[in-house]
Symmetry: C2
Subunit: 341 residues, 2 copies
DNA sequence: CTGAAAGCGCTTACAG
DNA sequence: CTGAAAGCGCTTACAG
């Protein structure tokens, strides 16, 4: 069947060991002549080392997992965020001769299982709630390099990477206030559980307070991150809250649905209501009017996650602190001064 | 370190073999009492079988690859298409206790390498050109189950899954003709090389001919599948081809850019120019006006690919013919009768 | 610079 | 119903 080290060794008239050394680039241990001869045979025969044999014999699998929460029977929901991370991660791993295993996690125990089963060298945790990261235990995680994206968990087992969610909200809400808005709503998904949303909510509250605007709980709505939920929220807002002149949302897709919902009830953006999104996804410029939004640099975030992972894998340990990336406000066409009364 | 079969066997006072049988569900070979005892220990100790050891000893790795073309230094471009397939594939594999390895392919030789290195049981090839599928050889592929998506290659080594590209184009162009259009442009990426685009182009030509409309090469433009290229094309079209009243494009994102480009030059859709997209991606309903487009059921296509793969893996071999899924036209707001002159 | 031995954690026949 | 042996393809010390 497949060509093995043994076959190459036999053909080259050397020992297994020598071929192994050559294949793994330990050149100091083999003469140039032998090396070239072996390399030629390797190439001619199309030899590819068995990764599972290697993984079994060595301590390292050269395998990194990308772990993403998954409903039991549903297929993985892959956000633009996830896509950016997958792309970057795969490329960097490939460059360093690692492989990427993608795994949906329906049940918490599967994290451990995924780690152990293929003896992963590292894993990137994407989209988990802080509490789930908190629960990771050293016994079950072993020495696996763990990077948790968008997590505010304090668990020292995982390196955290996120962008400045508090600051992003500050930027957005300050902008709305500067335009003259006072009745500013907040819309986002379950913000008690997920740290990212909670930080944005805190940014919202903080800026309000700093500007002497009283906090009004009735302006805060829990809306899932989908176009449909945004749309329903927009209709509701138009009907029930004519006093609201601006909305800060935690996601572009939600903002886009919201704008459509407002329009369906005869309210225009930004004429009647201003809307600020979050993410600066591609979508933001495809829609009309183009979306004013908080940009987080997904590519940079993914790159940072990969870099942390690679540093850990290479044993270049770095100060074990969370990395927080900057954000900025992209002013486009959905935020304007409130209508004159 | 990690708990092994041996540890479990020792604790249960049985042989390795017996534990192995229990873990692998070969219950006929073990008494119920022993089985329950072993299962309890397995659970208590948190034993997870080593997949690499298993892969090495058995003939099967329970590993399926998703192979996607990648520019050398660029990160994977993951289309909505790819996302749908990744999600479906991961879920089905997980359900059957397989794992998914994601691999970008910069160079053709890497396909073989990916297959051999981890001893993949199967692989889904996504986004390769027909010629690349054609070149796959039995020697290098071995017995790996191969599914090629959106391929029109005749290579019997791979099972092909695609949707009815010729029919989709027929639907779109017939619709435009029925509305009264005669000067209908075609815009899509490199359509000599990729079978999918070529089939759509053939659909376009065929319908034109069937309706007595002469083929005009100057109406056919090669435009890459990006918003930016669509936009540039739209501007060009508005300036140089006032005679064109309708455009059939091979992708929604391209159509959306095109509409923006036309608008930038003062031409409205569908007032001045009608546009039909392809894919019915989420985007289609987010933009204004909402896009008329050809829907291909990505979920169904992904599901079919997974099903073919699973049947092959399970040895349930099926008639080795390509699967072609249906398409349908979704009429929304970007196609209307041509302007009266 | 090169090699013989042991072992990684499993499964696959084959016995009993 | 249960087990002892061989082997999957590699790497890791350790010798020479």
């Amino acid at each position: 069947m497949a060509v093995t080290l043994k076959d190459i060794a036999a053909e080259a008239g050397v020992s297994l060991m020598t071929v192994s050394n050559v294949v793994n680039g330990k050149q100091a241990r083999v003469s140039a002549a032998t090396r070239d001869r072996i390399l030629r045979i390797v190439k001619d025969r199309g030899y590819v080392p068995s990764a599972s044999a290697r993984s079994l014999a060595a301590k390292s699998s050269r395998l990194v997992g990308l772990l993403v929460p998954a409903e039991d029977e549903a297929s993985l929901t892959i956000s633009p965020h996830t896509v950016a991370v997958i792309g970057m991660l795969e490329r960097e791993l490939r460059r360093l001769d690692y492989h990427l295993m993608l795994r949906g996690i329906a049940d918490r125990a599967e994290i451990t299982e995924a780690l152990k089963s293929w003896n992963l060298d590292g894993a990137v945790l994407l989209g988990f709630q802080d509490a789930e990261i908190d629960r990771l235990k050293a016994e079950t995680v072993g020495g696996v390099a763990l990077v948790a994206m968008d997590s505010y968990s304090e668990n020292p087992l995982a390196l955290e990477v996120r962008s400045d969610d508090f600051g992003g909200a500050e930027l957005a809400v300050s902008h709305l206030i500067a335009l003259g808005h006072k009745r500013i709503a907040f819309a986002g998904p379950g913000f008690s559980a997920t740290g990212v949303v909670r930080r944005r909510f805190e940014g919202y509250r903080t800026v309000l307070a700093a500007n002497g605007i009283g906090y009004d709980e009735s302006l805060v709505s829990r809306v899932e991150t989908t176009h449909a939920d945004g749309l329903a929220y927009g209709r509701r807002l138009a009907r029930e809250r004519p006093d609201v002149t601006a909305v800060f949302t935690t996601a572009d897709i939600l903002a886009i649905g919201l704008i459509e919902g407002l329009a369906a009830e005869g309210r225009s953006v930004p004429g009647d209501v201003s809307v600020v999104g979050y993410d600066d996804s591609d979508l933001a410029v495809y829609v009309t009017p183009k979306l004013t939004t908080v940009a987080q640099d997904l590519t940079a975030k993914a790159a940072e996650a990969v870099r942390l992972m690679m540093d850990r894998l290479a044993g270049r340990d770095r100060p074990d602190e969370a990395t927080t990336l900057g954000v900025r406000l992209i002013e486009r066409d959905t935020a304007a001064p409130p209508p004159r009364r």
